[in-house]
Amino acid sequence: MNGRYWKLSCLIAIVFLSYLGVADAKEVNWVAINPALKDATFVKDRSECIDCHETYVMGYERTRHANLFKYRGLNRVKVGIDCETCHGPSSKHLKEAEKLQTTPGAVATTVSFKPKAGLTTTQKSSICLQCHENGLRMEWKGGLHQVSGVSCDSCHYVMERRSDRALAINEDVKKACYQCHPDKKGQTLKASHMPLREGKMECSNCHNPHGSSGQKMLKTASANDTCYTCHAEKRGPFIWEHAVVRENCSNCHDPHGSNNPGLLNAKGPFLCLNCHQYGGHVNMPRYNRSSNPYGQGCVNCHNRIHGSNHPSGAKFTR
């Protein structure tokens, strides 16, 4: 590396480190979300909320959030307790309680996640990220869902325990994904599919919907690493590698579902012919060839198509 690049690298490093020096602690700007909250203060007494919202809170009491607040206090949250952590300071709201009950159409001075409140997805997410900008959510910001306008409450419902885990909007967690990805739902209904519709898998087995350093929001560094999670036998490495397999399983398989056996992108022989069109061997399925589309097509002979560990396995027949 010549001197000019060194100087440029050092300059970038200095700028970056200076930037870190003014790193931003995450706090919610409640007034920006709802200007009416100006001068409102945190009451820090959940019993005040229960006076009016008892029925609503009954469902909430069985959630993990409620239990964490109740038993551990969640001391990383600097503001409010329980309800106020997500709905903002409630001093003004308590004063208007009587008016809200007697005046139809009166607007509450609080932060509501209901559609009519008109919160942007960024505003909604900023409230959740007070506590959740960690773990699987570390790459939420800048992730595909965040920039596409998805907010936390698109998939999660925190006021009631509807799913076994993750407070999803539905008992069947996949339905959260299918709201925006009906094409993928359609694929899982095809003849060859993974056991999603049988309830043995979820989309989140492979994808991290909160953002990921993997491509296509996959949980691992490469697509193949994701597949090896359940198909460790295909990990190898093998003496004889099939390049297209080593590069990406989805070169041949569609993991979301297919009408071809084995989740293949195309019917047996034709899939292979995408790459293997040459003379001297089959370049079209023919009547007198064992690679005819009976049985498993080309794989009738080239049975170790994912890679072979046999000394005579150069063509994956052993």
Binding site: A23, R64, L68, R72, E198, E241, C301, N309, K315
Partner: protein, 436 residues
């Protein structure tokens, strides 16, 4: 028998759950809050619904008593200790049972048992009998004269008559059984550790093509059930620190795959003792010798390790920088089979002819990902990213003879130098960068 043991296990854990609650509560009355629900019933499947294996491809629906779901929860209202016991499709081949206990915000233990069937066919037939250890034999061979290459009506009739006599039903499908234990510990709201171990067995059979002979039309093809006896053990450790404005994560994964059946050997059902194990090419001049047994190498045992470090920081102007670096190592060093099951006149059945005796295969993967995103004004997101992925294949390269599907390539039983192959260690590098 297994299902009975399993049902006892479920009842035992259920009783243990109920029994633990008073212990958690001490003597104090009303300290424990419990809730639960159970859904049971009976099933009757309509006529012919199970004719297709697709009906029960990944599930186990059958006539009789059905314990669809149960859920039992308890919490100590003074300490915040909790216990959950859930189950679904109990005493079926697709059952799932989870036991969770812990203390909110401090520690948690999760124990899970999960089963997943994969039924591939319920009408499969084969003349082969499994002898164990990856060996399939036939009660008698069909006796097809293969000295003349190519298909013929006579050959087809011989095989057809043979199959009519010897075909019998066989199972085709696999069953996964996975146990998982995960322990999380949160000493402070900022710091979290997780240790997880899973142990999965996958057993059964799947279909595979089994050719003997050098290439079409001289290849003698069959399809037989390939034994599946996999054992995968994963150990994962995660540590995380989430500060006010930055987060750091570390993870380590060790995955160990074992295959209890490392090769598949089958008897050629076409063999004709009178005609011998020779065949000819189309010009009728060059003979091929083929083995009366074929053998393929099944998936080798392997080990994988991965270590990853992630970092995220919030910066001014509502911006954020995240970076992840990971390193993976795949290793496989299985003992190699010889070139052929049979000697084929020149000891191709000896591993001494191999350039090396073990696979000595290794792949290293390196990934680095950095994202910078900024939201300067509402509804405007800008993102800059760089991603580097390198797959470095360190598998040793050698020159190997190519003995085609347990058949010699010429009358001398030899394989010429021009029939050698070199195993190339395929690897690649990818870089993606851009602005969104």
């Amino acid at each position: 028998m297994y299902k009975i043991i399993c049902s006892f296990f479920v009842i035992l854990v259920f009783l243990l759950t109920v029994g633990l609650m008073p212990v958690m509560a001490g003597e104090e009355e009303g300290r424990i809050e419990t809730s639960g629900d159970i859904k049971v019933g009976a099933q009757q499947i309509g006529n012919n619904k199970t004719n297709s294996s697709k009906f029960n491809e990944y599930r186990d629906i059958k006539d009789g008593f059905y314990l669809y779901k149960f859920n039992l929860e308890g919490i100590d209202t003074q300490t915040g200790r909790y216990l959950e016991f859930r189950g679904k499709d109990l005493i079926r081949d697709d059952q799932n049972i989870i036991l969770r206990l812990g203390s909110y915000g401090t520690w948690g233990l999760e124990i899970e048992w999960d089963e997943t069937p994969h039924l591939l066919s319920n009408k499969a037939k084969t003349p082969y009998n499994y002898q164990g250890n990856g060996l399939y034999t036939v009660p008698a061979t069909a006796g097809v004269d293969m000295t003349t290459a190519g298909a013929s009506t006579t050959k087809d009739t011989t095989v057809s008559n043979y199959l009519n006599s010897y075909l019998h039903s066989t199972d085709l499908g696999t069953q996964r059984e996975k146990g998982r234990v995960a322990l999380t510990y949160t000493p402070s709201p900022q710091l979290k550790f997780k240790l997880e171990y899973s142990d999965e067995r996958k057993e059964g059979t799947q279909i595979t093509g089994t050719p003997i002979g050098d290439r079409p039309p001289r290849t003698m093809n069959t399809q037989i059930p390939e034994p599946v006896d996999y054992h995968t053990r994963d150990l994962r450790f995660d540590a995380e620190y989430a500060g006010e404005w930055y987060q750091v994560q570390f993870s380590y994964l060790l995955s160990d795959f074992e295959n209890d059946v490392t090769s598949l050997t089958w008897q050629s059902l076409f063999y004709n003792p009178t005609a011998g194990n020779y065949t000819t090419v189309e010009d009728g001049t060059t003979d091929r010798t083929y083995s009366t047994y074929g053998r393929i190498a099944l998936y080798p045992e392997n080990r994988y390790q991965n270590v990853a470090l992630s970092f995220g920081v919030n910066l001014p102007l509502d911006s954020r920088l995240t970076a992840t670096a990971s390193y993976g190592l795949m290793e496989q060093d299985e003992d190699l089979l010889p070139y052929s099951y049979s000697t084929l006149t020149t000891n191709w059945d000896s591993t001494s002819r191999l350039p090396r005796q073990k696979a000595d295969a290794e792949i290293e993967t390196t990934m680095f990902n950095v994202d910078y995103t900024i939201n300067p004004i509402d509804r405007l997101n800008l993102r800059a990213f760089y991603r580097y992925y390198n797959l470095d294949n360190n598998t040793k390269t050698d020159e190997w003879y190519y003995v085609t599907s347990d058949a010699s390539s010429n009358t001398a039983g030899g394989t010429a130098v021009n029939n050698q192959r070199k195993n190339l260690a395929y690897g690649y590098k990818k870089q993606n960068f851009g602005l969104d």
